[in-house]
């Protein structure tokens, strides 16, 4: 999904799009991780118990903390890899937005109940 800086847009852009793409894709992945963890915690008792990081808040504490860590780690790695590159942003944007859309749907309780 990457290409060299020489193949970038003909516009005189001072910055490559890699850093922005990293932030966008990481946002989608982080959101999706939260949705998957919330769904799994709702369906499987073992996962639910393992997600209790702070007892008064219950499994929500673990689902959100884990998702935030996944989001930040993914962002850091992608930023490190893509910071100085130009990438195929159209495809990355579609993937990120699809993940975000899926996340919104996956957290909707009637959809969770289908699993």
């Amino acid at each position: 999904m990457t290409r060299t800086n020489k193949d970038a847009s003909p516009n005189a852009s001072a910055l490559t799009n890699g850093s922005g793409a990293a932030a966008i894709l990481a946002g989608g992945i982080g959101s999706f991780a939260l949705a998957v963890l919330a769904c799994a915690g709702d369906k499987l008792a073992a996962i639910k118990n393992s997600l209790i990081f702070y007892r008064p808040t219950g499994p929500l504490s673990g689902a959100t903390t884990s998702a935030i860590l996944i989001w930040l780690a993914t962002w850091g790695i992608l930023e490190w890899r893509w910071r100085n590159r130009s990438v195929v942003l159209g495809r990355i944007s579609i993937i990120a937005l699809a993940l975000l859309g899926l996340s919104l749907v996956l957290t909707f309780p009637p959809v969770v109940d289908l699993f």
Binding site: L15, G20, I24, T107
Partner: protein
């Protein structure tokens, strides 16, 4: 005129952070729309660009503060378990809602969705702010990036709207109560 400390925290969370975020987001969406979808984006002045960056940073702070206070301050009061045999559930909002078929949906649909969907807001708006700060005026050279930023900003608004709506309805049907009583003013005696 009195308010309990828990009710005050709920007001701070919902009105202070959540509603303010929604208001700020509606303004930001207009500005981002002008900045991103215009075929010839206007060139903002350095002052306007600085203001937009500061505005988005304030939104990031609001979003994170809203979800953190909601999750770690108010939610534990909401989901507290009632002692066995307790019949007055007014201090246990989740149990109170679940005790009646007329209100159980506010928990099983409303809170179950709200508690997770709200977290998409800070994730999305942090990304939006990062890209705006990183690229600034250079964003005009990245059409896909502009569209993605606007889409995530819309998603953050939708997520905050869902959370805000259910938060208000939950608090209307089963308000979080308790804690110390704060006297705001002394009423007139009749």
């Amino acid at each position: 005129m009195e308010i309990s400390s828990r009710a005050l925290w709920t007001v701070i969370h919902g009105l202070g952070f959540g509603a303010l975020y929604l208001l700020a987001c509606s303004g930001a969406l207009v500005e981002l729309y002008r900045f991103t979808l215009s075929s010839t984006p206007g060139e903002p002045t350095p002052g306007q660009e600085r203001f937009l960056k500061f505005y988005l940073l304030a939104m990031v702070v609001l979003a994170w503060t809203a979800v953190l206070t909601g999750t770690y301050v108010i939610y534990p009061w909401y989901r507290a378990a009632a002692p066995r045999g307790k019949t007055d559930l007014s201090m246990f909002p989740q149990r109170l809602l679940m005790s009646s078929p007329a209100t159980s949906g506010w928990h099983s649909l409303g809170m179950e969705w709200k508690e997770h969907v709200a977290w998409f807001t800070p994730i999305s708006i942090t990304m939006v702010a990062f890209v705006l700060i990183r690229y600034g005026r250079d964003l005009k050279n990245h059409r896909h990036l502009r569209v993605a930023v606007l889409s995530f900003a819309v998603a953050s608004f939708i997520a905050a709207g869902i959370a805000g709506f259910f938060g208000a309805m939950l608090n209307k049907n089963a308000p979080v109560q308790g804690g110390t009583t704060i006297r705001l003013s002394r009423g007139e005696e009749r």
